[in-house]
Amino acid sequence: MTEQLGLVVLDHVNKWYGQTQALKDINLSIARGEVVVVIGPSGSGKSTLCRTINRLETINEGTITLDGRPLPAEGKALAALRADVGMVFQSFNLFAHKTVLENVTLGPIKVRGLDKAAAEKKARELLDRVGVAGHAEKYPAQLSGGQQQRVAIARALAMDPEVMLFDEPTSALDPEMIKEVLDVMVGLAKQGMTMVVVTHEMGFARTAADRVVFMADGAIVEEAAPEQFFTNPSTDRAKDFLGKVLQH
């Protein structure tokens, strides 16, 4: 049974927004240490997929389990689950009223119960790892997009998550900043982090991904190893999509 193998397992998941079906019978099992890139046209349900995994969105049918545990409903148990699932947003969403250091220590102190000194020590190590150690005392608005996104990654890592979700982490960035963020993500992948990454960065998919999942109209249309997917996709939808994307 895949249910025992996967760290994150989605089983016959359906989700509607009113009349629109955003997820159609999604079955996906992500193994510990695996890096899965999710790709597909706008509106195909990629964000929704990410957001259901840490239950920022609820699902209507099916089950999602993390390490064998089904996602709890609202409340303390759900909060605890979210602490184990890191999320990086397209728009960074750093806490605007907190310094970079506070952004990274807030969760460990308030959610994990770490003392301030320990949380700050760990935060500075993480900020160093993502290359923004020099900006610890600044506020998010004083940083470039690429720097903010790296802080957001550090903030998520500070919780020691079991899996990290990235929803188009480089889509809001200027081209010259994309690489600095992708480099951090490649590093994470190499260190064995379990990752679900919504991105159209094929370079990243080729270097870091174990598997590419192609979505269209809320359904998973094709799953393949990156090289195979990009050079020889098996479905027409994927061929069509790649044709459009590669023209640019």
Partner: protein, 233 residues
Amino acid sequence: MDAVRDNWRDVLYAFGLTVEISVLAGVIALVLGFLLGALRVSPVPVGRAVAAVYVRLVRNTPLLLIMLITTFTLPVLGLRPDINLNDWFGIDSHNRMLNLNFFVLCATGALGLYTAAFVCEAVRSGINSIPIGQAEAARSIGMTFGQTLRLVVLPQAYRAVIPPLTSTMIAMTKNSSVAVGVGVTDATFQMRKLNNDNGDQILQIFVTFAIGYMILVFLISAVGSLLERRAAA
């Protein structure tokens, strides 16, 4: 004979009672209003519904009617009009400035309940002015709803909430004058009394009381701008 000058003590006492009612109602309104505001954005549908219905109901009911309801239905429900909190706090029941008799309590409670609906809406709009991504990021690192609100959303909403809350508190202070309708001897009551006794000086008396209310409102505005400036720093 100068009605205001001859009765300045009564005028002062009456304004004292207005201040007392406003302060107590303000505390009720702020505490209840923030709780309702939090309920309004809570993940629990029942909580959201309760807060929404409260605001709908209370905002669409005239304040005088709410005061009449508290004053006249509580006795029907068994709370006797001779109940008061004066003994509790060691207040002389003849003290006109500081008095917690049944009518003052009912009027104050009604004013607090009524104003809470407006506080709730100010808090809600302040919360809604903060991008949703802030709350989502907080939830994503495992914060509970309460932590998200307290640590991330409200500190940012604070600045946006102060100006409408100041207006709400000003409106509340002026609305306290409605309490005269249920027999509370506040500033407006005293104004009417003086007018009845001194028909020749109506204009002076009106102006005096208008200035009195203006001073109270000015004080609230001053506190509001002070908080606003501190929040901006």
